[in-house]
């Protein structure tokens, strides 16, 4: 057991080291625009535009459920318009970034890990190196850049859709007027809420794509290794999302008031 703990610790530190090295390499390779430029749009389309439906679906149901949950939780002692406050704050600052990030970790992280892992086990990555292409600039930089740009886009749309779904649910399913919901939504609203959610989403995008790329590049063996890499990418991305969520909360929310 002691040996197992030691092995896991070594692998974790080695993984963080390789991921850090890879992110640093991707930043350094961002100067090589001619290498990653032609692939950036494709990756953004795949990661971002392709992920919009799942993000919208998650946000839609989240908004509805939050409105119903708030209505259920608030007794007569609490004004009903606070349903709007709870939906706005929760969707924008927490649920839209985290749930969308987790969904994209499964979709995007696994996709990247499987794609690059397959390239690794079929020696396409080695072929790139043989052709004097930097695999980091060719494979990792456009993906991390796509995650950095498109995660906030998807999460931003999810925020607005979640808020709108909560608004419609409050009017349609609850005995709440549009004015009441908007009063609650505006009650403690600050543009910081949007900024906070988008910055978190960008950090999640970098984490998910970097972990996916690292898992793919470290793939060993055949198809089994690719599957393991995809699984590792999803699990690590999900954990990293939760860790980053707590990190941003401590950094930005601790000691801050509306």
């Amino acid at each position: 057991m002691v040996e197992g703990v030691g092995r896991y610790a070594r692998e974790a530190v080695a993984g963080m080291g390789s991921a850090g090295r890879m992110v640093f390499g991707a930043v350094r390779a961002s100067r090589d625009v001619r290498t990653w430029g032609p692939h950036a749009t494709e990756q953004m389309m795949k990661l971002g535009v392709g992920s919009l439906p799942i993000g919208i679906l998650i946000a839609c149901f989240t908004g509805i459920v939050l409105a119903l949950l708030a209505s259920y939780a608030f007794t007569n002692a609490v004004p009903r318009y606070l349903v709007g406050t709870l939906v706005q704050k929760t969707v924008m600052m927490e649920l839209a970034p985290v749930l969308t990030g987790l969904a994209l970790a499964g979709r995007v992280g696994a996709n990247i890990a499987a794609e690059i892992g397959t390239m690794r086990v079929t020696e396409q990555v080695d072929a790139l190196e043989t052709l004097a292409y930097d695999p980091i600039a060719y494979l990792v930089t456009p993906r991390i850049l796509a995650g950095l740009v498109m995660f906030p886009v998807v999460v931003g749309v999810a925020m607005m859709v979640g808020l709108g779904a909560g608004w419609l649910a409050s009017m349609g399913l609850l005995d709440l007027s549009s004015e009441q919901f908007l009063k609650g939504a505006r009650f403690f609203f600050s543009e910081f809420d949007v900024r906070y959610g988008l910055v978190k989403a960008a950090s999640f995008g970098v984490a998910v794509t970097a972990v996916g790329c690292a898992a793919g590049l470290e793939t060993r063996g055949g198809a089994e290794g690719v599957g393991a890499a995809a699984t590792r990418a999803v699990v690590t991305s999900a954990v990293l999302i939760l860790v980053l969520d707590a990190f941003w909360a401590v950094v930005w929310l601790l000691g801050r008031s509306v």
């Binding site: 953004m44 971002g48 004004p79 998807v154 749309v157 607005m160 609203f189 543009e191």
Partner: protein
């Protein structure tokens, strides 16, 4: 071609997403782009929990929001309000900051100075913050729920202390005495109820009498009013002046009569004294007569004298008759 299509779709997605985020943010912040708004600045010593974005209301109606909260020299805080351009400020306006709900929401109320809630603290704040310069309104902070809760907590502490003392004082003997007192109070209340029933009947009678008395008073007042009206009319003809002159004359005559009566009374007193003296003397004379003293007493008290006098009178009557019959026997008239 496909790459250019992807670029367009990606750019459109990003731009639409950004536009959506910006529009929703502006909508939730109630930002009005391109609308001219009027600015009002008020100064305070403290702004409580008012922040940028807090509501500005006039008579409870939303008129704008707090645009800025700034620290100023001299220990002042300036609050800049952004109001709708159509809003008309109340006369002699002041700005009051206070909680608008129990959930930490504060607002700035623009109100006429005459409508400020009574309170020495608020008046003091307004007086202190006045004179901040042209266009700077005086402001005050109303007591918030926390302060009221603190006072309520202090009161609750006092009540708890009193309750504790009551608990110490309220032992078994006190409970027995209290039960006895309750019984006594019960009996007393029964007696009181009976008394009240009796008195209520009396009161009914009294009230009837009072009602009748009131009716009589009403009638009397009506009659008095008529009399006053008559007096008023009489006054207008000068009859009262004549009556008053007659009364004055009569009073003068009465005074003279009284003086005469007074003099007569003095005379009568003197006459009485004389009469008493006469009576006393008469009484002494009669006493002497009764006692047979003196001639008259002898005459009154001696029957023999009465008889002699009677016979004398008879002889004298005979003599007179004889004299009438034979005057020459007794009277001899000679000349020379």
């Amino acid at each position: 071609m496909k790459k250019r299509s992807n670029d367009f779709l990606l750019g459109l997605t990003i731009l639409l997403s950004l536009a959506l985020i910006i529009l929703v943010t502006l909508f939730l912040q109630e930002t009005e782009l391109g609308t001219r708004r009027q600015k009002v600045v008020a100064r305070f010593r403290d702004v409580g929990q008012v922040t940028v974005g807090s509501l500005a209301v006039i008579r409870g109606v939303k008129a704008g929001s707090v645009e800025a909260v700034e620290l100023e020299p001299g220990g002042w805080v300036h609050v800049r309000l952004s109001l709708d351009k159509d809003v008309t400020l109340p006369p002699d306006p002041v700005v009051l900051l206070g909680a608008s709900s129990l959930f930490g929401e504060w607002q700035a109320s623009l109100t006429p100075r005459r409508s400020v809630p009574a309170g020495a603290e608020v008046a003091l704040q307004l007086a202190e913050s006045a004179g901040g310069g042209t266009g700077i309104l005086p402001g005050a902070v109303l007591p918030d729920v926390a302060q009221l809760t603190t006072v309520a907590g202090s009161i609750a502490g006092d009540v708890a202390s009193v309750a504790e003392r009551v608990q110490v004082a309220f032992n078994d003997s006190a409970a027995r005495e209290l039960r006895a007192s309750i019984r006594n109070v019960n009996n007393l209340s029964a007696e009181l109820a009976r008394t009240v029933r009796v008195q209520s009947r009396n009161l009914d009678t009294v009230s009837v009498n009072v009602r009748e008395g009131a009716a009589s008073l009403a009638r009397a007042s009506t009659a008095f009013a008529r009399s006053v009206a008559r007096i008023d009319s009489a006054t207008s003809k000068g009859e009262v002046q004549a009556i008053m002159r007659d009364v004055a004359r009569t009073a003068t005559q009465a005074r003279d009569a009284a003086e005469r009566i007074n003099r007569m009374t003095l005379s009568l007193e003197r006459t009485e004294v004389s009469l008493r003296s006469v009576m006393f003397r008469a009484d002494s004379v009669l006493l002497k007569v009764h006692q047979g003293q003196g001639t008259l007493g002898l005459m009154v008290n001696d029957p023999g004298l009465y008889r002699n006098s009677d016979s004398l009178m008879m002889e004298l009557r005979d003599l007179i008759a004889d004299l009438k019959k034979n005057p020459k026997r007794y009277i001899r008239l000679t000349i020379f």
